[in-house]
Amino acid sequence: MDVIHYLILSGLLFTVGAVGVILKRNFIAVLLCIEIMLNAVNLSFVAFSSYLGQVHGQIFVFFVMVVAAAEAAVGLAIAIAFYRNRNTLSVDDADLMRW
């Protein structure tokens, strides 16, 4: 398998995630779409790591996963705080800088 196939798949995944971020109106669904984008980048990291025979790409994937975990925890905490204040999860209602 050539690395270009993985890159094309990665590009398609990233586009799906980016479109999802714009289309979805639910706060948590937007976070899910961000996870898709992060995974698309991870895929191309691993593809290049295996293609170049170097381990550094996989280390980066490891760090991306850690950051994704931290982002998910903080993002979901914000979702809970937002839901508690506005009683909805629609991003259209997230229009105040301060409550």
Binding site: I8, V19, F62, V67
Partner: protein
């Protein structure tokens, strides 16, 4: 066999990712994302990265998605999924942007020539993705970033607790 497995796992990954965007209820989106992440682990195995594949299943499909599902169940599992869009033009704008991204992306990938990238002599022979090799690089070359990561996680934990705390 490799080609078949690539298209199998890649197809599942892509279809599940599209399902995440297409499904109306956020709970179903999360379940579709678990499928997508799981088959992505299969792709990592194909790329000879067993550690990343295992971590993908354990951390992503396991821990992170369970966290997501917990919060979805806690807030509103099925009701307020995707309420009718108040800004209709956003939908068209999103689709147009996605199409534009694809149109821009594909000529770029097509013109990308692998000859520019130096290829390792015999990739399949050497075991780059082995856990021992990965650990050696991680704990020598990337020791400082690794330790900084723990601070990041600590900050994230504290931040999550403070943010989600009920106000007195």
């Amino acid at each position: 066999m490799d080609v078949f497995l690539f298209y199998f796992f890649g197809g599942i990954t892509l279809l599940a990712a599209i399902a995440v965007v297409a499904l109306r209820k956020v709970f179903y989106s999360a379940v579709a994302l678990i499928v997508s992440l799981g088959s992505l682990a299969g792709l990592y195995l194909l790329l000879k990265a067993p550690f990343i594949a295992a971590v993908q299943v354990i951390i992503y499909a396991g821990a992170i998605m369970v966290l997501f599902l917990f919060v979805i169940m806690l807030l509103d599992p099925f009701s307020a999924s995707d309420e009718p869009d108040r800004k209709k033009h956003l939908k068209t704008a999103g689709l147009v942007l996605g199409g534009a991204a694809l149109v821009l992306l594909f000529p770029m990938l097509k013109s990308y020539s692998l000859a520019m990238t130096p290829k390792a002599p015999d990739i399949m022979a050497q075991d780059v993705g082995s856990v021992a090799e990965l650990a050696r690089t991680l704990f020598r070359e990337y020791l400082l970033p690794f330790e900084v990561t723990s601070i990041l996680i600590l900050v994230a934990i504290i931040g999550a607790v403070v943010l989600a705390k009920r106000k007195p």
